[in-house]
């Protein structure tokens, strides 16, 4: 399956990835090649085959809903690109 530059722009938008014009051209070609390769799966009949999302059986693991304080909140905040007291600051969300 061949994809267009328009498809690349749409996917980049969904993935919140800013792309340059050159990157859009490059990825249009490379993603087409990769998806064409992926199309080989269509040859296989999987009508009655159930999907496997995990190789080993995994159930939901629940624990008690209990508050556990993290021992070093300052170390978390220290990684913030822009912080204010105990908050992370982000650009304006709405006008």
């Amino acid at each position: 399956m061949s994809i267009t530059k328009h498809d690349v722009e749409h996917v980049a938008k969904l993935a919140r990835l800013g792309l340059s014009e050159e990157e859009k051209e490059l990825f249009t070609k490379q993603l087409s090649d990769i998806l064409e390769f992926a199309d080989s799966l269509k040859k296989l009949d999987t009508k009655d085959v159930p999907p496997t999302s995990h190789a080993v059986p995994i159930k939901n693991v629940l624990r008690e809903d209990k508050f556990i304080a993290f021992n070093d909140p300052e170390a978390i905040l220290a990684n913030g690109p822009d912080t204010d007291k105990h908050m992370f600051r982000v650009p304006k969300i709405m006008e």
């Binding site: 994809i3 498809d7 690349v8 996917v11 980049a12 969904l14 993935a15 919140r16 990835l17 800013g18 792309l19 340059s20 990157e23 490059l26 990825f27 490379q30 993603l31 090649d33 990769i34 998806l35 390769f37 992926a38 080989s40 799966l41 269509k42 296989l44 999987t46 085959v49 159930p50 999907p51 496997t52 999302s53 995990h54 190789a55 080993v56 995994i58 939901n60 693991v61 624990r63 993290f70 070093d72 170390a75 978390i76 220290a78 990684n79 913030g80 690109p81 822009d82 992370f88 982000v90 650009p91 304006k92 969300i93």
Partner: protein
């Protein structure tokens, strides 16, 4: 000293023939000598290492709480969180990230008294098969610095091969421990999915990722696996299964063992010189009394395509967290929230990471989910079934680890698809969640060839026994890179 295994160093330490401080100084001297050529590390933590070495020497002196890792230097792949020590995933987006906590495996290695030398280079976010996708610098193969060390755990494999670390950790999503182990002539083990906690491992593809050891021999592999295995309440996918003492499986005996060789991985697309080395290993096993059985895995033809839909799909979701809000790089061009996301991710991610986020997002998007993602999950079932069928008549399976020896730097970087195909023998194992080991089994063009041994889920013991027996009866693991 730098050529010794961890179990040999352990004897020297407990017999007081050397101190951990001396050993650590010795290894750092080796690093000073060869690191400019190999470039295995992104960050060396010598000061901290010497403190840990001193503490280990106290433990040994007082004869308290000595483990097989006490005082032994180890290198940690840079996608495993180390509290207060940079953990970059070899990505610009995490270039300044100082984790506020340790990964569970780091906690376990620290508790055992090991000495962390530093963090090793990798393909950015573990996406790649050559370590050329590191945003920091490439790592070079100690056997021939014109070739790649493999990837994504290329830094860890090269460090062990070059004598810069007796032990290292790696992570393996589609072959990222085993393929670099094969290229660098060391032993790399990917445990069963869930055997080792992923808590604090920066997630790439959560249903496939698994941490494991890179070592100079099979004995060290069992020793390190003993330390890092076990259920962890902090990782809900970690297996609540009993952990045997893996060193008990280091038995030199394969008499009567049924070993399946995978027909599809000894045919087209495999370098004839690699095939020859693996065929010789099969012959060796027969001489040692094992029973060789041909098995067929028709679904393997589709494994790479399946993997390159599932892994990017999971990655596109996992990497959504890198948004410039709570940690990591934030773009200076942020006129609103959306431009902050777009520009942060454009500046922070390299091309391979962008490509995989795009493929994954596409495969999961409306209109394509059934055709790509769901289809891949169904083929995953077929791959799993092929393994189940093979294990009805075999205890372990063997194949080459990689279709070729280490390739030249730059040879595949312009063509992502050809790079992806270098994982053809390792990918099916991750899709089925099974354990597998790569160990040296010969040379082609003066570069190491790796033999892959695959076991059933939670049966690392059988593959360790098969690997140990081969190692005891051959000399490949003794040969060292002359960097």
């Amino acid at each position: 000293m730098h050529n010794k295994t961890a179990h040999e160093l352990h004897s020297l330490l407990v017999n007081k023939e050397i101190s951990s401080v001396e050993l650590t100084e010795n290894i750092f001297a080796r690093i000073d000598k060869v690191e400019s050529k190999v470039q295995a590390f992104v960050n060396l933590t010598k000061e901290e290492a010497l403190k840990q070495a001193k503490a280990a020497d106290e433990r040994i002196k007082n004869n308290t709480n000595i483990s097989p890792l006490t005082g032994i230097p180890i290198a940690i792949k840079d996608n495993m969180c180390t509290k207060g020590i940079l953990t970059t995933c070899s990505s610009k987006i995490l270039a300044n990230y100082l984790p506020p906590y340790n990964a569970t495996i780091v906690e376990k290695i620290n508790a055992a008294g090991a000495v962390m030398l530093g963090k090793t280079n990798m393909d950015e976010f573990a996406m790649g098969s050559s370590t050329e996708n590191s945003a920091m610098h490439p790592t070079l193969n100690p056997w021939n610095i014109g070739t790649v060390p493999g990837g994504s755990s290329g830094g860890s494999a090269a460090a062990v091969a070059a004598g810069e670390a007796p032990l290292a950790t790696g992570s393996d999503t589609g072959g990222s421990i085993r393929q670099p182990a094969s290229f660098c002539g060391v032993v790399g083990l990917k445990p069963t999915y869930g055997r080792v906690s992923r808590y604090g491992l920066v997630a790439f593809a959560s249903s496939l990722d698994q941490i494991g050891p890179l070592t100079k021999d099979v004995t060290d592999s069992a020793i390190l696996l003993n330390i890092i295995s076990g259920h962890d309440p902090k990782d809900s996918t970690s297996a609540n299964q009993p952990v045997p003492d893996f060193t008990k499986s280091l038995i030199d005996d394969v008499k009567g063992m049924k070993i399946g060789y995978i027909k599809e991985l000894l045919g087209q697309g495999i370098d004839p010189a690699v095939k020859d080395a693996v065929s010789a290993a099969m012959k060796k096993y027969e001489e040692l009394g094992a029973k060789l059985i041909e098995v067929s895995m028709p679904s393997f033809e589709y494994a790479v395509a399946t993997y390159y839909l599932i892994a990017p799909a999971e990655a596109s979701s996992n990497l959504a967290r890198f948004d410039g809000v709570k940690f990591g790089h934030r773009s200076k061009e942020t006129k609103d929230l959306l431009s902050m996301y777009n520009n942060t991710r454009r500046e922070g991610f390299g091309n391979e990471v962008k490509r995989r986020i795009m493929i994954g997002t596409y495969a999961l998007s409306a209109g394509y989910y059934d055709a790509y993602y769901l289809k891949a999950l169904k083929v995953r079932t077929l791959i799993k079934r092929d393994f189940e069928k093979a294990f009805e008549k075999c205890s372990v399976l063997i194949s080459p680890t990689a279709p070729s020896v280490a390739f030249k730097i730059g040879e595949k970087s312009a063509d992502p698809l050809s790079m992806y195909l270098s994982d053809i023998a390792t990918i099916p194992v991750n899709l089925a969640g099974l354990p597998a080991i790569s160990l040296p089994c010969g040379f082609a063009n003066n570069l190491p060839v790796g033999l892959q041994i695959i076991g059933q889920a939670y049966d690392e013991s059988s593959l360790l026994q098969a690997a140990f027996t081969y190692e005891q009866n051959t000399d490949w693991h003794i040969m060292k890179a002359t960097v």
